[in-house]
Symmetry: C2
Subunit: 207 residues, 2 copies
DNA sequence: ACTAGAACCGACCGGTCAGTCGGTCGGTGA
DNA sequence: TCACCGACCGACTGACCGGTCGGTTCTAGT
């Protein structure tokens, strides 16, 4: 698998991918414990035996699914971090990418918080590290630059990045979509709130 | 229970309360599915049969526990909403009350987000309503006043209240405690960020 | 065509856990 | 002191689910 990534997937790889793809919406919709291996296998068009041919355990299937997703997100968000422009522009780029992700992939990022205390030891550590690398650390890098360049007030970049993530999660809700509408307005809302706060601007312009 | 709250609890009420008190730390530490009724009963000093004498199901025990807690929080936060002062002062009062709650009670508020998709129908609705009444709606009331009085820029008060809650949850983390230290500094951080944002102040004062 | 091995099947096992039920205990009123 | 009843007990049940395993089918190389 390491020596040959150029051509089409093997049958085994295709089935593994199909199983993971089938598991994704199930784990988004229901708790880890409430998603059975039979459900996943059924949704993927294999039997439980087939599933266990590709994954040694339910837990390892879950971890594979999450690591897969974090890797994709990591690649996606890395681009915004590397892009030129102001801190605000780069944060906007990253957030826009996130908001324009399909619903399912956006929700996956929340699973790590919901399910993290199910796991212990190695699996838990790997999940946490992969998540932090994919999202908070990318934001933290941009924020760190922003502080250095004077675009942001001095402060702990990690706490600021978590705060930013928290604000983004708010506008992902159904209600925010109804009130704020499409991506651009939700994006502006998050950036305005993060950079300038909720107090009225001293200059008092209307939007 | 409605007609007689003056004197000491009956034995039955005391046992119910003991069971709920025993369940609280267990549900905080582990997922709903991973906390067994035997564990709860054991921690409460009764047997499973005794537990089921007081609660018809595990789910109803969980719901009772949560509704109990939300009711207490509702009473607590109501005071800050009713208190005089600026929007910022009232938000500070409410947030300080929250931050000074014992760890266990603070964490309980997060359970509703973690476990809400376990339940369906009536129980789910009651949990959501009780939570929103206890926390976001109290904050929303203060924010609504703030917008009316010009202390906050116009905006959707519900989204702003959710944003505020999200920012508070960030400073509840272990890391934030290490970086920011005691309650007052974390409180200031949340309020500064919410009201004024992360950008440097135009006047440029240092703290 | 033959065959070795990978992919896949599905009945089954072992363990777990919510919920049950017949019974015991202790307090309370007559 | 005795009868009653709510509180409590704990062994048991039935269903569910993760994981196994012997067997079958598909595929690729010769």
């Amino acid at each position: 698998m390491t020596q040959d990534t150029t051509q089409t997937l093997t049958r085994s790889e295709a089935t593994s991918a199909r199983i993971i793809a089938a598991a994704r919406p199930l784990f988004v919709a229901k708790n880890y414990a409430d998603v059975t291996t039979d459900m996943i296998a059924g949704a993927a068009g294999v039997t439980k035996g087939g599933l266990y041919h590709h994954f040694p355990s339910k837990e390892s299937l879950y971890v594979s699914m999450m690591l897969d997703d974090f890797e994709r997100k990591h690649q996606l968000f890395k681009q915004s971090v590397a892009s030129p422009g102001t801190c605000r522009e780069r944060l906007a780029s990253l957030t826009r990418d996130f908001l324009e992700l399909p619903e399912e992939e956006r929700q996956l990022a929340r699973l790590v918080r919901r399910d993290i205390n199910i796991f212990t030891g190695d699996d838990r550590d790997r999940l946490v590290r992969a998540y932090q690398l994919a999202l908070p650390e990318q934001i933290e890098a941009i924020i760190r630059d922003g502080i250095k360049d004077g675009e942001l007030a001095p402060g702990d970049p990690r706490i600021l990045s978590w705060s930013f993530v928290a604000l983004v999660e708010v506008v992902v809700s159904q209600y925010a979509y109804e009130v704020l509408g499409d991506t651009s307005l939700r994006l502006d809302h998050v950036l305005d709130l993060f950079f300038d706060g909720a107090a009225p601007k001293p200059t008092g312009g209307t939007q």
